[in-house]
């Protein structure tokens, strides 16, 4: 039932708002960029449609930005996107961070009952078994009725916290010995949109006017060697960039070809942020970023 609504709404928006394209999924679950009415016929939503499409939206919008030759701001052609509940939270986070502006996007929301885990032969993805964000939080139109949401639990995180330090180190050392640094987690993350990433030594945004000093003295925070210390630094250093920003859409864990439980990292971050700062990423529109705010009343915790 929701496929017809998606296609109807997408077609209407494409015509009325002159969208550049509608980003959605095709029936086999792969991301699909529908640019014409007959493309839109291929849009669909089912359990295979697991990708978070927001990274594509960010690229489609930001690639249109910039100045025309005579110095005026380029006009951004709006883009349509189909979002599940967790995708919409990521989208709301980007709206709150002014990376995207609301008028540039037409959002078709789909209340989601869970997507398939591609490594487990179509079984429900672990994150979707108990999901607190099934209904989209920002949308222009909904493709079906809202569904019942569960409450968010952190049982797995508490289990790890109860371990002794040695056990935890052994647990994580094994995981990071298997990481092959293919960057799938970073590239599929909706809130990871920097042009230049400090976790990838080759990722330098060189422009014709970049001076020799800039190129020579850009620190290599993480080396290219793939071993436990470098992998540990890569994942450990990625977390501060996600503090109060990660919405737990679960893409990093879902796309990881080595099947590393990366959500155990982001969920711990989320739990800490809620406990210490009583802050939840993308909880409402216009919310200020956690790290960019300063507050006199924060408690000092372990600070001497």
């Amino acid at each position: 039932m929701s496929d017809e609504t998606i296609r109807a709404e997408a077609k209407k928006a494409l015509r009325d708002r002159g969208l550049k394209c509608v980003i959605g999924w095709s029936a086999d679950g792969t991301p699909f960029f529908a640019e014409t009415e007959e493309d839109i016929e291929k849009l669909s939503f089912n359990q295979l449609c697991a990708n978070n499409l927001v990274p594509y939206l960010t690229k489609e919008i930001r690639s249109q930005r910039g100045k025309t030759r005579d110095g005026k701001e380029k006009i951004v052609v709006p883009v349509g996107i189909v979002v599940k509940g967790c995708d919409s939270k990521a989208l709301l986070l980007l709206l709150n961070e002014n990376i995207l502006s609301r008028k540039e996007i037409f959002i078709i929301g789909i209340p989601c009952t869970g997507v398939a885990d591609r490594h487990a032969g179509g079984a429900l993805y672990k994150k979707c078994v108990k999901c607190a964000m099934r209904n989209p939080v920002v949308f222009d139109v909904l493709a079906s009725e809202k569904v019942q949401e569960d409450t968010r639990g952190y049982s797995e995180i508490e289990a790890i916290e109860k371990m002794t330090t040695e056990e935890r180190w052994k647990f994580w050392k094994e995981i990071f010995a298997d990481c092959i640094r293919c960057h799938a987690c970073k590239r599929s993350c909706p809130v990871c949109y920097c042009d230049e990433c400090m976790l990838d030594p080759t990722d330098i945004a060189i422009r014709p006017d970049t001076t020799a000093e800039e190129k020579a003295h850009r620190p290599r925070w993480v080396e290219r060697s793939v071993n436990v210390p470098e992998n540990l630094l890569y994942h450990l250093a990625r977390l501060p960039h996600l503090t109060g920003r990660c919405v737990d859409c679960g893409e990093c864990e879902r796309v990881c070809p080595q099947r590393l439980p990366l959500r155990l990292l982001t969920a711990k971050l989320e739990k800490d942020v809620k406990e210490i700062f009583n802050y939840e990423a993308a909880s409402e529109a216009g919310q200020k970023p956690l790290i960019a705010m300063s507050c006199l009343e924060d408690d000092n915790g372990f600070i001497m």
Partner: protein, 341 residues
């Protein structure tokens, strides 16, 4: 007459015997459900060997490790001393490879040891590796397409010993001298094949030649089409979904691109690299010949089927299908090459 029967319950024993001649790598399922090659006795025991499926991780890392120190250097008062790292010369046995992975090793040989220059690190390891391959019974899973690349479920390329599944035992046959010699040494644990098993083996080979059961394929004619479709807009359409991560190249048994960097600790380190990363071809002048995702994706497919045919006379793809299985956005090399116009 180098044909033997290895009963399945005797495999642990045979592996122990092989362990005396060198380090044995066997496919085992790791804690997260990924079948990969682990060292027998160190990270894996013979009982959890998995010979019934295609390993998720190819044996490439055994011959061409992801991180490898080339040499270390010391600087004293402007004077440099370079000490090469001693290239290991342990005997290694890969037990339970699939035919596509074995052929992939011969392709890596062509890249690293062919042409004007030879890569001495790879060559030193390669000379000490023996490959025991187990023939597949038709496609191992839905992503396999080895017949389209000149291989087959029972191809013996790159294998020293070929084994066929007889149900309760394996029919082992030495292909190369190294394979025959190592089988001779194992004679104690092996039996002789009877006529029924000989016939069964012929059936397996025959079925493999007929490429029965392979729904996924790339035709020669669509590969030929690549010459004219370099500038087709099709590449932009499919590359729009690509996330530029390195998953397809790191799991490909024949992808061999690497990066060399000097790292703290005064060492020059070679690591795997991926042509899909955005700065793979970035010049220091900021000019980047393959700056668009479409150019990079096209370059990978052309390298596998057109450029390799021109340079080493063979396709650099063995049809194992791992890049199809692992792509987070469902990009499919067989679909792309068949559909591009």
């Amino acid at each position: 007459m180098n044909k033997y029967i290895l009963r399945k319950e005797k495999i642990a024993e045979a592996l122990k015997a092989l362990g005396n001649t060198g380090v044995v790598y066997i496919p085992v399922k790791n804690k997260r459900g990924l079948v990969e090659y682990k060292e027998l006795g160190k990270d894996a025991s013979a009982s959890d060997i998995r010979l019934d499926c295609k390993p998720d991780v190819p044996p490439k890392g055994i011959l061409f490790p992801q991180t490898e120190v080339l040499f270390t250097f010391k600087e004293m008062g402007g004077k440099i001393t370079v000490t090469p790292v001693k290239i290991e010369d342990q005997e290694k046995i890969i037990f339970g490879a699939k035919p596509c992975d074995a052929i992939a090793i011969t392709l890596l040989d062509k890249v690293f040891c062919g042409g004007k220059f030879t890569d001495s690190y790879y060559k030193a390891r390669r000379e000490k590796v023996t490959v025991f391959t187990i023939a597949c019974d038709g496609p191992a899973d839905s992503t396999c397409f080895c017949p389209s690349t000149g291989g087959s479920p029972a191809a013996t390329g790159g294998s020293d010993v070929m084994m066929y599944d007889m149900g309760d035992s394996y029919y082992a046959e030495g292909i190369t001298d190294k394979g025959r010699k190592i089988l001779e040494a194992l004679k104690g644990q092996l039996g002789k094949p009877n006529s029924a098993q000989e016939k069964r083996k012929e059936e397996i080979i025959e079925k493999a030649e007929s490429a029965e059961g392979f729904s996924r394929k790339i035709t020669e004619e669509s590969i030929g089409k690549l010459d004219s479709s370099f500038d087709s807009k099709y590449w932009d359409d499919i590359a729009r979904r690509c996330l530029s991560c390195g998953a397809c190249t790191y799991y490909c048994p024949t992808c061999h691109c690497f990066d060399i960097n000097d790292e703290p600790g005064n060492k020059r380190v070679r690591t795997w690299d991926s042509c899909q990363f955005s700065n793979f071809t970035m010049h220091t002048s900021s000019h980047n010949p393959r700056t668009a995702k479409a150019q990079r994706l096209r370059n990978r497919y052309y390298h596998k089927f057109k450029y390799s045919k021109e340079n080493i006379g063979r396709y650099l793809c063995v049809g194992c299908g791992r890049c199809i299985a692992l792509c987070p956005v469902g990009l499919d090399i067989t679909k792309a090459i068949s559909e591009v116009k």
